[in-house]
């Protein structure tokens, strides 16, 4: 689907100014700072960031999965299909989880209950949300397992998680997530714990199911390569903030934020000859306990100027998208944006 077609799709998720501060032994952690984005039906938003960039905290907070004790502060609004969900009670949230929003976690080993059969675990949402009988839920479970590519589903259904391989377990987790036909699927590093060959199978499976069901999907990953060819829109997070957001093709055509550019350049590429010197990013991601004033990336940024260390850059519309006739929304948070094309051309 082109961005233009998406413009006509109804809004599925609207996150505005989401800010989350967490309690920790070392003090308040500014995990998510003023993040806003929208997701339309059937769209995939890829959220890219390194560990500690706040991407998982944000995803969990959308589902209200952060423990009450750990959250010190939470601001902003989350509107799902026209309904504000950030202030829902736990009971109301329960009705939503699994039915309208479902989540896939990184580690399929720990996401499943080791002492319950696959059947019990996949049936649970079917019985809970759809009110299916035990027998009907079992039948539906077998169909679901079949749909996510588990061979011999009728027999597998009575097995326990330990009898399945990592890839198969992740398929079961996906089956659970898809059970009630959610409108929004949040996939938090769904393939990080898996081998490359299995990673591709799982990503292909997610893409297929998403197209069939017209789900919206948040695909969270640290791997720019995973989202490049899978996401419609890519959001890059750094130190809890959204630093760049654009349709995938636009982003790879012209990266604006120096962090996006640096991240892209630091990845070894299969097409480069051996022993190519990598363009490493100096330093390391900042601690989020005491955010310093200014842009969080400034200490590692090769283009940083004095202003970058003093003021926090606001999220603004990239110039090219204002000028161009195409309705592409390209946002970035940088005072001195770069213009880098993924094909290597720098203007």
């Amino acid at each position: 689907m082109t961005p233009r077609e998406f413009k006509e799709q109804p809004l599925l998720l609207d996150v505005r100014n989401l800010t989350i501060r967490l309690n920790s032994a070392a003090g308040l952690v500014h995990a998510v700072e003023d993040v806003s984005f929208v997701l339309r039906e059937g769209q995939t938003l890829g959220i890219v960031g390194e560990s500690g960039s706040g991407k998982s905290v944000m995803a969990r907070s959308l589902m209200n999965l952060l423990s009450r004790r750990s959250v010190a502060q939470r601001q902003g609004s989350v509107v799902l299909s026209g309904r504000e969900i950030s202030a829902l009670s736990e009971r109301e949230m329960q009705k939503l989880r699994g039915a309208q929003v479902a989540m896939i976690f990184q580690d399929p080993m720990t996401a499943l209950n080791p002492v319950l059969t696959i059947c019990v675990q996949v049936s649970e949402p079917l019985q809970q949300h759809l009110g299916l009988s035990k027998q009907a839920a079992r039948q539906r479970t077998i169909e679901l397992l079949d749909a996510v590519g588990i061979p011999d589903a009728a027999n597998r259904v009575d097995q326990y998680p330990h009898q399945l391989s990592g890839g198969m377990r992740q398929r079961v987790v996906i089956a659970i997530a898809l059970a009630c036909d959610p409108a929004l699927l949040i996939a938090d590093e769904p393939t990080t714990a898996l081998d490359v060959t299995v990673q591709k199978q799982i990503l292909d499976l997610l893409s297929r199911q998403q197209t069939q069901r017209r789900m919206g999907m948040l695909l969270i990953t640290h791997d720019l390569g995973v989202v490049a060819s899978r996401a419609d829109i890519i959001a890059v997070m750094y130190a809890g903030r959204l630093v760049e957001l654009a349709p995938a093709t636009t982003l790879f055509g012209a990266m604006r934020h120096p962090y996006t550019e640096a991240l892209f350049n630091s990845i070894p590429r299969i097409s480069d000859p051996g022993h190519t010197r990598l363009q490493a990013i100096p330093g390391r991601p900042p601690q989020l306990h005491h955010p310093s004033p200014g842009c969080a990336f400034a200490p590692r940024c090769q283009y940083a100027q004095q202003r970058c260390h003093r003021e926090t850059p606001p999220v603004v519309m990239a110039e090219s998208s204002i000028v161009s006739a195409k309705p592409t929304e390209h946002l970035h948070a940088c005072f001195f944006p770069v213009a880098k094309s993924a094909s290597g051309g720098v203007n």
Binding site: L224, S229, I267, R269, D272, R284
Partner: protein, 346 residues
Amino acid sequence: MSDQPGQTTPLQLRDRDDIVLRIEHLSVNFRVGKQTVQAVSDLSLDVARGETLGLVGESGCGKSTVGRAIMQLPPPTAGKVLFKGQDLCLLSGEALRQTRTALQMIFQDPISSLNPRRKVRDIVAEGLQIWGRPSQQSRVREVMEAVGLDPDAVADRRPHQFSGGQCQRICIARSLALDPEVLICDEPVSALDVSVQAQILNLLEDMKQRYQLTMVFVAHNLAVVRNVSDRVAVMYLGKLCEIGGTGSVYARPAHPYTRALLASIPDMNPLSRHQQDGLPLLHGDLPSPANPPSGCRFRTRCPNAQALCAEKEPLMQAVRQTEQNEPQSKTTGVVSDHFVACHFPL
């Protein structure tokens, strides 16, 4: 080379003077309950001086076990590990301890491979102290500076005060302190953030030049292996599938498994989105190494498998070079440097 009866010298081993590490018919078995798992089965390869050999494969294919078997951790069940012509498997006790200083290892998780109670200075100096090497202080300073750590700032701190990338630098400094000839890196960057990964890869490359290291680089990330390796060995379920010059293997994979691995790499081009499906790809998961398939171990997932593949185990054979190939080995003339174990190579 004294071949044991019934064992011929594997084709892929090179007859060169500068071979530092030579593994012949290596097998490593583990007992799991009542079963025996063949983690590595009859694997032969060699590494020349100054070369980096990349070892790739899915988790459970035995690549880490090969790295550890070289170090005799634990000693292999069968086969030889020749370091500069000397079989490490025949050494024991003190002799092995002496020889092993020339081989050092770096592990995947840099934080858990450092003792949290010790100061960085002591961690890096430990090998030197054990061996009573002279001028320890200056050597510790030198390797710490070499890996990009400021000795004055970090020497008296403990590992928990450092990030993963910094800890990996400490691990590298520790491994270099005894001036090793061979560095075995077991997934050295897979626990690190993308932005730090490039720093460590660049550092390893610098250290290789500076200290003239020979490296065995175990990793599952094919792009990383492409970047660091001169030669690459692809393993599947304890067996060597393909070995050759990195350029040759990546450009013209001869084993269906290698091709599938390469096809699994996510594409960095957003425009390739709709071309993703339909590529020849692996089905299913890795079979249990306790009960590997007969014949070729890859046949259960191979798109090209035929009856022969179930009956007979494929032997290593040279990959036929096409004309546009760069001349692979000028010194030996006709011999190819690219080998594959497949009945029906691509």
